[in-house]
């Protein structure tokens, strides 16, 4: 049965502690000073009516990935599980996909000189039915990951209980990562 992966990022639980960022770095040997995932925070409003926006920046594994349609060598490709991977062999590092990604999720790995991005830890974890490093490390359970086709999965339950926002949904990319928006404080 084909999988329908979803990763939920709950802005209400996220505290911006960057544990996900460091866990990802360790798991995937990400080179220094480049990031597969980062959480940004922004203080909104005017004192004392304030809010804090938390935003996870990483690949959102689009179902209609612009990075795949622009890759001239098919080094950026979509597996039948719907995940977008990078074939390092045939990546010529033309950077078209980096420009094509509306989420600015891709970057050049300075050691290997190929394009890199979050892979949902597919090789080391998800392919072995484990959770991605960021999801299992998060101190506040802000991340949940699973197969939407499994009705008992946490992602399925949460998706039906919470308000979901799909980032840049208007672009038609149909991301697999969805946010549960902040309920507290000033929001814009």
């Amino acid at each position: 049965m084909q999988k329908q992966y979803r990763l939920l990022y709950d802005e209400n639980l996220c505290i911006g502690c960057q544990a996900c960022s460091v866990a990802c770095r360790m798991e995937n040997s990400v080179p220094d000073n480049v990031y597969r995932v980062q959480v940004h925070m922004k203080t909104l409003g005017v004192f004392p009516n304030l809010g804090m926006q938390y935003e996870r920046h990483s690949c959102v594994m689009c179902e209609n990935p612009p990075c795949v349609s622009v890759c001239p060598t098919n080094a950026s490709f979509q597996s039948k599980d719907g995940l977008v991977h990078i074939d390092e062999k045939s990546c010529i590092s033309c950077k078209y996909c980096i420009l094509a990604c509306p989420y600015h999720a891709r970057f050049i790995n300075p050691l290997k000189n190929v394009v890199e991005k979050c892979t949902f830890c597919y090789e080391t974890r998800v392919s072995k039915e484990l959770l991605p490093a960021c999801v299992s490390t998060c101190p506040t359970d802000a991340l949940s990951f699973g197969d939407m086709r499994q009705k008992e999965s946490l992602v399925h339950q949460k998706s039906h209980k919470e308000v979901l926002v799909f980032p840049k949904a208007h672009l038609g990319t149909k991301p697999k990562v969805a946010f549960i928006p902040n309920r507290k404080g000033i929001k814009s």
Binding site: L13, C17, Q18, A19, V22, M26, E27, P139, T140, G185
Partner: protein, 761 residues
Amino acid sequence: MVYLQARRDFLKIATTGVSASVLIPGSLGALGNVALKGEDKFIRSVCEMCSSRCPMEARVVNGKTVLIQGNSFAKEMGTSLCAKGVAGASQLYDSQRLVTPLIRAGKRGENKWREASWDEALSLISTKLSALKERYGARSVIFSAKTGEQYDLLRSFASAFGSPNVFSHWSSCPIAIESAFAHTFGEKLHRDFENSRYILNFGHNLFEGLDIPLTKAMAHFSANPSKKLVVCDPRFSIIASKADEWHPIKAGSDLAFILSLLHVWIRDGKYDKRFVDEYTIGFDQLSDAIKEATPQWQQTLTGIDAKVVERIAAEMYAAAPRCIIDWGHKATTTKAEFQRTRAILIANILMGNVEKEGGIFFAKTAERINTLACEKVVPELSDPYPRPRINEPRIDGAGEEGAHRFVSRSHGVLQAIPDAILAQKPYEIKGWFLTRHNPLVTVAHPQKMKEAMEQLEFIVVNDVYLSDTAMMADVVLPEATYLERDEGISKNAFKTPTYTMRNRIVQPINQTKSLIEIIRDLAERMGFGSHYAWKTIAELRAFQAKGDAELLQTLLMRGVASFDVPPLLALCASSVERFCERYPRSHVSKDAQGLFSHMLRSLKTPSGKIEIFSAEIEKAFKGYGVPRAVDMDVMQGHPYVLTSGKSAVHTNGHTQNIPYLSMLLSTNPIWMHPVTAKEHGLKMGDTFYLQNAISKEKATVFITEGIRPDTLFAYMGFGRDAPELKRTHGKGTNPSKLLSLESATLCGAMITNVGVNIVKA
């Protein structure tokens, strides 16, 4: 081969040029390529990237890195771990980390060292310490460390050596809280965040000073729409951003707010009268003391509207007993810290939340459980670190008549050290042994502390890095990192008793040693090895566990041992019933209401009850027997107050040089409100000076709406004077340099809210 190449690449990337790190004497970088030995399966242990000491598990992958996550055998952890915990390998492999003992070769603080063998270093230490004891008496040597297993170990060594001058970090951190609890309840209590419905928080920032089980519980609490979190903090911190209500309270004025809450409750009779009558003494004195503490009065001090106090008092009472007024862990302190914390504890008492679900509770230690159950449910441990009392006065007067009368002799007042050394009063002080301690970063007025250290004859520092304090040492010992250490069994008691044990994940690089091995070796060399009933760590563990092989096996395999004891709350009938069902012999301890109320009647307080008013305090410090409005002025004539705090990616003064963490946050620009910045013509990123009577420190501006206009904020641990910490040396501002060595009244706490001026560059 692949591993070695990867290591070389790693070292190249991780350092600011290979040559730079190779030049650091005693460093890992100076060693060149080092093989790593460890196993590719999870070993369970305990983290030490901060002192929350969360249970974790780790495995070595491809000989290249250590993957670390939470130890899910500790159910409240799951696999969660914070950024620092996960970055453990980044410290393990840091080429700037110390792996060889160093002996000072130039002047003190000159940063000239020669590498030495462990034998030479330990021999030198034992010789010098013995010489100091011979000449000036054992009391002339100070011993300091952060609390935990290593402090108990250090104290036992100091005891055997004969010195009473043992200092923990408490006076720079939780001493006010510990002291307030000791005088009120006789011991410290814990918070049931999970089951609570309403939490009033005074800056307890669990989202930047993480403790995984507490952080997780607080995150779920704040995300729960049916629960309410109110945060009072001059800064819009992460936890403030998760609150339902954030009140930008004026720094230092928490006490006023709490007193007015007490006032409202007492005025309206809206507090748990039965609980107060049955279990406490001193209510009348309290009632008297808060007569003038009206919501209108507090408004002038805190800036929070009187109506807010009225409303919160009502809401909290409606939620009681499932409410908590959170005393925090270490917020920025004032001179009134003792009174503030006492007021918070009393607020909880008035809400009657003690030993109830969603409230606060006594630690259910093995001893307590076994006594209640009338059977040996949980194995009890022996103490492997005997520390007989040394009957000599300490240099800080702790436990003696005077200002520090109520400060524990086991912890002391760090702020008293510089003056004592400089004046050589009450007697000569000549040596200092530090481990897991960096007072030149974390204690007030490090300039004076450094001056005092210059006067000492012998300083030993046991650390992972050549820290600011280590720079002043005569001998620097490179302790093995926590990933390389086997240690004893630690007790953790919250709603149930558990034990944890640190198990080595990786063979110590370059044969670095743990403090246990160091101290045991020194004790042997100095002739008091027989003080200890064990020689090796294996023997230590066996001794602690009283030979309980099953317990040891569990701790070796799982890192954590729990005993399926049902969580117990003495004043919660259902909880008591469940406990009695499991342990039938405990039925006898139940009172007529089916509660274990006796637990609250024989406390370690003078009266045996909960003391709202403390007669012994009142006798020694008039007016302090019950919380009163005192000592709330933190500005001291300055227009601004500088506050400080933790960041989620760093621990105090420990982690700033670690590659993966330094990458995330490498400096601490000072938070400043736009109006304040404009008044001084400052823009984002501008350089300016913070100035007061103590010092003038360079700083950088960070303009944000998230802070009161009269307040400034700095993440602590930056502004380092440690040239061998190449990634962090000289970056940012050290707020400690602006703090005075004054202590908070009665408890001896360091005062970290400080008045400053803003001076243009």
